[in-house]
């Protein structure tokens, strides 16, 4: 067996044996707040969730940190006004983002097909 200190890059996106993608830890220092730990994710997901959560009127705080740059992991802290739990807020956020992405996909397809029909002969060739 070769022993190496080279980083295994699939560790950036493959969950380990007993790892969960995401779990919640209650933050007891403040009311209605939780810290969600995401494994094998990076700023791609973190910043999108953070920004989208802030659009929810029930959210008082949302922010994330990457505890160490060499580990593919981030912690998202959410505090709500008490109307919804942080977990519900995060779930709503995820669902709304999935819907948004579906809209984006549809819009893009529509535009692209339109483009192909209009300018197919001139611009579609290699």
């Amino acid at each position: 067996m070769i022993i190496t200190d080279e980083e295994q890059r699939f560790e950036l996106f493959l969950l380990g044996d007993d790892e969960k993608k995401c779990f919640e830890t209650a933050d007891t220092r403040t009311p209605n707040s939780s810290v969600f730990t995401f494994n094998k994710e990076d700023h791609t997901l973190a910043n999108m969730l953070r920004a989208h959560l802030l659009k929810d009127p029930h959210i008082i705080f949302s922010g994330y940190k990457v505890p160490h740059p060499l580990f593919a992991k981030f912690e998202l802290r959410i505090q709500t006004d008490g109307e919804v739990t942080p977990k519900e807020a995060l779930l709503n956020c995820c669902k709304s983002l999935v819907t948004d992405l579906a809209i984006l996909s549809r819009e893009f397809t529509k535009e692209y097909e339109l483009r192909k029909m209009v300018g197919g002969d001139s611009s579609g060739e290699k």
């Binding site: 996106f13 493959l14 790892e19 791609t44 999108m48 819907t99 809209i103 549809r106 893009f108 192909k116």
Partner: protein
């Protein structure tokens, strides 16, 4: 901005796209009604997490060229391979048909070249022979776009030198190695007049004079003379320039990127909704690739308890890939609308 109901209303309309230019290898578009974080996620995911095919293993039988085996292997890895409908290909590490690699999760390409003439011979990507045993009819073909149909140069051989090798191409993402990148570059620009002052332009005398305006500058109103700085302003329009390396069509790259983000979110939803029950051992039986649960047949492992219904339909929609038009996304039209009765609570 205030949190008024109006803001939420515009949000409900969702992102909008305007394509300004497109060809077989690139697409330029303007994305609006989204925030910076969302646009940046699209950019990042396209660059790093859209799966493609690339040569990953090389078995060298004979190499009498001047280049070392590793050197040639590296060059082979960087050759773009057609990745149309890569969803048909399983990740080798998840493949349940084999221990190492097989026709379900890899494409074999062989190269046999020998220089017999007196002139230096060039070995091109077109000289790679693609094995017919492969998941679909496109996957693994070297991308050849030059008018002579040669493809990229792999090596040069002198008289008597020979190259005989077998390459195994696998599916992967650029986060693991850049050879799996579907794009050479993604242009990403917003606020061409720098009204938001996100950029601190370096200048000698006058920034406006020394920095030529971007081509998108004419698409937006220039700042008014003496206009006060708007502290509440946020970027609204994002100009993307997606440049494919040829293994995927530009629209496929974007659709795949969107799908990858949706899968990430679905994994989070799944974990948060049925989390706690069963424990880690029941939910996970080992490391897996990011989109494994989406690939229809591969979803047989214990991954999906409780989330089966949405993913079941997703697998049907997702397998036909990005070619489809209309409202059918990998998640169906309203993935979370009908959750009340069926399954995940």
């Amino acid at each position: 901005m205030d949190y008024d109901p109006m803001a939420m209303d515009t949000e409900a309309e969702g992102p909008s796209v305007k394509i300004s230019d497109a060809s077989a290898h690139h697409v330029n578009f303007e994305l609006s009604s989204v925030d910076l974080a969302f646009a940046n996620t699209i950019r990042r995911v396209i660059m790093a997490e859209v799966p493609t095919m690339a040569i990953d293993l090389v078995e060298v039988e004979a190499n009498t060229s001047v280049l070392a085996d590793e050197f040639i292997s590296h060059r082979l890895g960087l050759i773009p391979l057609n990745s149309k409908n890569v969803d048909d290909v399983a990740y080798s590490r998840d493949c349940d048909q084999c221990d190492n690699y097989c026709e379900q999760c890899s494409v074999t390409l062989t190269l046999h070249a020998r220089c017999t003439g007196d002139e230096i011979m060039k070995v091109y990507a077109r000289d790679l022979v693609v094995d017919s045993q492969r998941p679909n009819n496109w996957v693994g073909n070297p991308v050849i776009t030059d008018p002579d149909g040669l493809g990229t140069v792999i090596a040069k051989l002198r008289k008597g030198q020979e190259l005989r090798l077998k390459c195994i191409a696998k599916k992967g993402i650029a986060k693991e190695h850049a050879k799996w990148a579907p794009v050479s570059a993604v242009g990403f620009e917003y606020d061409p007049h720098n009204k938001l002052k996100h950029i601190d332009l370096w200048f000698e005398k006058d920034a406006a004079e020394e920095w030529p305006p971007s081509k998108y500058a004419s698409w937006e109103d220039p700042p008014q003379e003496g206009e006060a700085f708007d502290y509440d302003a946020v970027p609204e329009k994002f100009y993307f320039e997606v440049e494919s390396v040829g293994n995927l069509d530009p629209d496929a790259i974007i659709q795949q990127g969107i799908k990858v983000v949706q899968e990430k979110l679905a994994a989070v939803i799944k974990d948060l909704t049925d989390g706690g029950s069963g424990g880690a051992a029941a939910d996970f039986d080992g490391p897996r690739s990011p989109d494994m649960n989406m690939n229809g047949g591969a979803a047989a492992s214990g991954w999906d308890q409780g989330y089966t219904t949405p993913f079941g339909t997703a697998a049907a929609g997702g397998s036909s890939g990005w070619g489809q038009t209309g409202a059918a996304t990998p998640y169906g039209a309203t993935p979370y609308g009908q959750n009340g009765s069926n399954g995940w609570n």
